[in-house]
């Protein structure tokens, strides 16, 4: 049961992240995902300081406001502050993350939050936490978020699709770009905050970016893109945890490394195949 809860938690996080990540990647906003995953830290620490517990549902919803707050500042600095897009992302998320770290080491120093698990979370403690309906609290919360995310993506597929592919066309049809943009960012922020405690900041980016990128090099149809993205994330989590147990190394970075390794090997394989095909073609032409 112990490993089951760990794998289940990781898989739910993978589902949320890869669904939302698909659209972030297609919108070339991967680095906004990066920024989100770091910027929510002060929100989480403040929520913890107020409520005194890490997994309070409504506090975490509030904390995700920090993600949106960061996006708004990045946008504002980029548009009116005279910073380049990359620079404004780089400045804002490092500042918020630094503030988060300062809060942890100074004010919240006697708490369960510690600096090291900020990066890769503490998924191994999930099964030991208090339970709701026999499900550990963070897993339960994540399940609720997963239902919301999946339903929103299913019903809003057209909106996400059209506002991602061609903003100006969508706008001329009367579709609100701002609405779909902030719906995506808001959900991403919430999903990041709820995943943070289990898998940490760096892994959230990995789960947001790597599965969609894998889908991107495999398929060219949006529906398949989403399915492949999610399955890749889920399968990687299951295999990753097994490898981690077998080699006695931490689960979360193992999943991250495994996903990247599969992606890179696939790319290498594709390149070889392309070169080989070209060579055989050239041979045939010669003959």
């Amino acid at each position: 049961m112990f490993d089951f809860w760990i794998i289940l938690t990781a898989c739910i996080i993978a589902i949320n992240s890869s669904l939302l990540g698909s659209f972030l990647v297609l919108r070339k906003m991967s680095l906004i995902g990066d920024a989100l995953s770091h910027s929510v830290l002060p929100g989480i620490v403040i929520a913890f300081l107020i409520s005194g517990e890490i997994n309070s549902f409504w506090m975490l919803i509030g904390a995700s406001g920090f993600g949106i707050f960061a996006i708004l500042i990045i946008d504002w600095l980029n548009r009116f502050g005279g910073f380049g897009k990359d620079s404004s992302i780089g400045i804002v998320y490092t500042l918020l993350f630094a503030i988060g770290i300062i809060l942890i080491t100074s004010i919240a120093k006697n708490s369960d939050i510690d600096v090291d698990c900020v990066l890769f979370g503490d998924i191994n403690t999930v099964p030991l936490l208090p339970k709701i309906f026999t499900i550990p609290v963070p897993t339960f919360n994540l399940l609720i978020i997963a239902v919301i995310v999946t339903l929103t993506i299913l019903f809003g597929l057209k909106g996400f699709k059209i506002s991602t592919f061609d903003k100006s066309h969508a706008q001329t049809l009367g579709v609100s770009i701002t609405f779909w943009n902030y719906l995506l960012l808001g959900l991403s922020s919430i999903s990041t905050v709820f995943s943070f405690d289990s898998v940490g900041a760096i892994m959230v980016i990995g789960l947001i970016v790597i599965p969609p990128s894998f889908a991107n090099i495999i398929t060219r149809k949006l529906s398949r893109f989403l399915i492949i993205s999610v399955s890749f994330g889920v399968v990687s989590c299951i295999i990753g945890h097994c490898i981690a147990i077998y080699l006695d190394i931490p689960t979360v970075p193992t999943i991250g490394f495994l996903m990247g390794l599969i992606l890179i090997l696939t790319l290498v394989f594709q390149t070889f195949k392309k070169n080989f095909q070209q060579r055989t073609k050239a041979k045939i032409i010669k003959q």
Partner: protein, 305 residues
């Protein structure tokens, strides 16, 4: 008063330990401030993030090979891993339809994951030297000792020399890429130089602010400096000064209270400089608004007359 006695003690430079930390962070700050101008002008801001995260596995491998925490070996490992990151980002976006932003994020999380796995293996290996490797994550300015200073000094001199030798080349390539192409300056050399300098300054810079916040030290100083001047030379100087000043203030804050971490405070101060510059410099938002208002009222008066 307590604060003033602390203040005086700190800035009397009587304590050699504090002096080492101050000199170390200042030199590193200045180095990164210089490189930062190249980063921001070449719009490489976010590749820096991939490079700094990639340094972790490099450091671990450097340690695993040598078994000691010699900063030179660790830095060499870090630099090699940084180069791998640059190559990986470029390779992924070149051979597939994965866009540059995604390939940055992919390289970052893969290499950092590898780093954490290696770190974990080292921690369980029983090597008693290993304690303190995790400090690279958030910086360990307080532990800078005199022998570290030689490495920092060497890197500083190397960066300055490279900059002096290629000064004209970089200046033209960064301010007018089109012109640089027409007079035959190698694009590859420009990119290589900048990436190289970023990798070198990152590999040592993480000692003060740590891996996660390193990118700020290579983005914010120049972002702030470029609000005050368009002159390349001045931008480099101002950027270096901003970074140095933030480092000193960061060290000072953490000296005041044992709970206050140095690296994050350096970044907070630095970001404040950047935001402050964005609002209040000659080219700043608020300044522009005020000037527009003054102009408008002036025009109005002229019309009345």
């Amino acid at each position: 008063m307590d604060f003033w006695s602390d203040f005086l003690y700190f800035f009397s430079f009587a304590d050699t330990n504090i002096n080492n930390v101050l000199i170390g962070t200042s030199v590193l700050g200045f180095t990164c401030g210089i490189v930062s101008v190249l980063v921001v002008l070449s719009k490489k801001a976010l590749i820096v993030d991939a490079i700094s995260h990639a340094v972790l596995p490099g450091i671990c491998i450097g340690f695993m090979f040598t078994g000691v925490k010699n900063p030179i070996y660790l830095s060499i490992g870090g630099m090699a891993a940084g180069a791998v990151a640059v190559y990986l980002v470029d390779w992924i976006s070149r051979i597939s339809r994965i866009k540059k932003d995604a390939s940055i994020a992919i390289s970052l999380s893969v290499l950092f994951s590898l780093g954490v796995i290696l770190l974990n293996i080292i921690q369980h290996s029983g090597n008693s030297n290993q304690s303190g490797l995790t400090d690279f994550l958030f910086g360990k300015a307080a532990t800078i000792i005199q022998s570290d200073l030689y490495l920092f000094g060497a890197v500083f001199i190397f960066v300055i020399l490279t900059l002096l030798i290629f000064y004209q080349h970089l200046k033209i390539a960064l301010f007018d890429a089109g012109f640089a192409k027409t007079i035959g300056l190698s694009e590859k050399l420009t990119q290589g130089l900048i990436s190289g300098l970023v990798i070198i300054s990152t590999a040592v810079g993480i000692q003060t602010v740590g891996i996660i916040l390193m990118s700020a030290l290579l983005i914010s100083p120049a972002s702030a400096a470029l609000f005050w001047t368009n002159n390349f030379k001045k931008a480099i100087l101002i950027s270096g000064l901003f970074a140095t000043l933030s480092s000193v203030l960061g060290v000072f804050v953490s000296f005041l209270s044992a709970d206050m971490p140095t690296g994050p405070w350096i970044i907070v101060v630095l970001s404040c400089f950047a935001l402050f510059s964005a609002f209040l410099s000659k080219k700043g938002v608020i300044t522009k608004k005020i000037r527009a208002k003054i102009d408008a009222s002036y025009n109005l008066k002229e019309k009345e007359n």
